[in-house]
Amino acid sequence: MHRRELQEQYEKLLSNFLAGDREAQLYMAQQLSKSLVTQDIAPEDIVDFHIQALEKLVQMPEPVRESFQLLLEMMMEYGNTYRQHNVLRDKQKQLESEIDLAVVMQQTMLPQVLPEFEGVEFGLISVPAKKMSGDYYNILQENDVTFSVAIADIVGKGIPAALCMSMIKYGMDAQYGLTPATRLHHLNIVVEQNIDPSMFVTMLLGNYDTARHSFRYAVAGHEPGFFYRACEQRFYDLEGRGLVLGVLRDAQYPEYELNLEVGDMIVLMTDGVSERKVGMHYLNRQELTNLIQGELAHTAQEIAENLYRRLLLMTNYELPDDHTMIVIRRTK
């Protein structure tokens, strides 16, 4: 809008306000100020609108008129700050659009569709704390009866973590058909040779055989998941030892096996899920399993989504770390 029109609009507002329609005009003023901010009108401009409108509407005593000179001067620095803010805002927009492109690229590294198997249901949620995620996950069909699962947390966040993720992804693409332990062993070598010593990666890799409902997995320093035994209605830690990736060249990874009965469930997650601070204290594993327990009647996908929502609510909508959770449940 043109400055003259804005000036007139302000004048009308002031005149209606002075005529007595106070609160309604204040409400209008709030709307107007919102629109002025988006039109880059600075605080000193508003003071100027005010002076000019007053001149027209009332007889001003000289000291009052003069005093506005002082107010105008006082507003100048706020105006400068406001302009600087606009410059920064534009810069930030530019950076964000660059990052948005990178986010799209990162998305292509994550599975777009999950495989389907008789008797098994999946739940999956992955929400980055910032735009780019340091959490990697994959659920991939290996053959007619087997799928592989991977969940990894790249320690470090944002762009460096995302760059590291592409290495993990390509490293894994070459590993079709191998056992979890062998795959971790290979990946460890790739990571150890290629990343900065300050970075490392934790990971859990598993193969699920849907004919026997057995889950074989190996762990590289990753946050233990949960194993839910339906007949006991109890959660166990999904145990597993193994060094984080990228630290020791020839680390070895033992393999573990679980057998799932109907209703049993595997819950994998990154520490963005488990290390949540609620008020002053960190949520412990018991509290976390209690939350999951409350969601058991729902589908695996709902369990993952509802848990995310509930944690977010408990933590005041703050998500300090990437949040990824995979739920695998045997349904028949």
């Binding site: 609160e23 204040l26 409400y27 709030q30 629109s35 901010v37 988006t38 609510l313 909508y317």
Partner: protein, 133 residues
């Protein structure tokens, strides 16, 4: 005022009324000029969101006391569509008006306490408190 006062929000006149009642209450409780305005502005933002996105709802105003402090609590309630991505809604610069400080993040900054709960399809509740300084 011990009894909370509830103002139904259906149109813009109701928003103006809610602002007015909130401002008067703040004045009665001894809030300063700027604080009164902040209370009115916060009410206005919340009520306008109800009006724009939920169609109707209510603003509840109450005088509260805790540990010798005097406070004013504003609860905005509606059974509208809810907010799908709350994190995004609370992000600065997400408000459709384009102002960086506007909308819900602005309310959060103006008030001392802020809590929001929203279920897609069920509605939204925002509870904010401003303590008298």
């Amino acid at each position: 005022m011990a009894v909370p006062c509830s103002i139904p929000i259906k149109n813009e006149q109701d928003i103006v009324l809610a602002r007015q009642v909130g401002r008067n209450l703040a004045k009665e409780l001894g809030y300063g000029n700027i604080e009164q305005s902040r209370v009115a502005t916060a009410i206005s933002e919340l009520a306008r969101n109800i009006f724009l996105y939920a169609g109707e709802g209510s603003i509840v105003l109450e005088h509260i006391q805790k540990e010798g402090r005097v406070g004013l609590r504003i609860t905005a309630n509606d059974q509208g569509p809810g907010i799908t991505d709350l994190r995004k809604a609370m992000e600065h610069g997400y408000s459709t008006s384009g102002g960086l400080g506007a909308g819900l993040p602005g309310v959060k900054r103006m008030m001392d306490e802020f809590a929001i709960d929203s279920m897609p399809g069920k509605g939204t509740e925002v509870v904010v408190t401003k303590w008298r300084s």
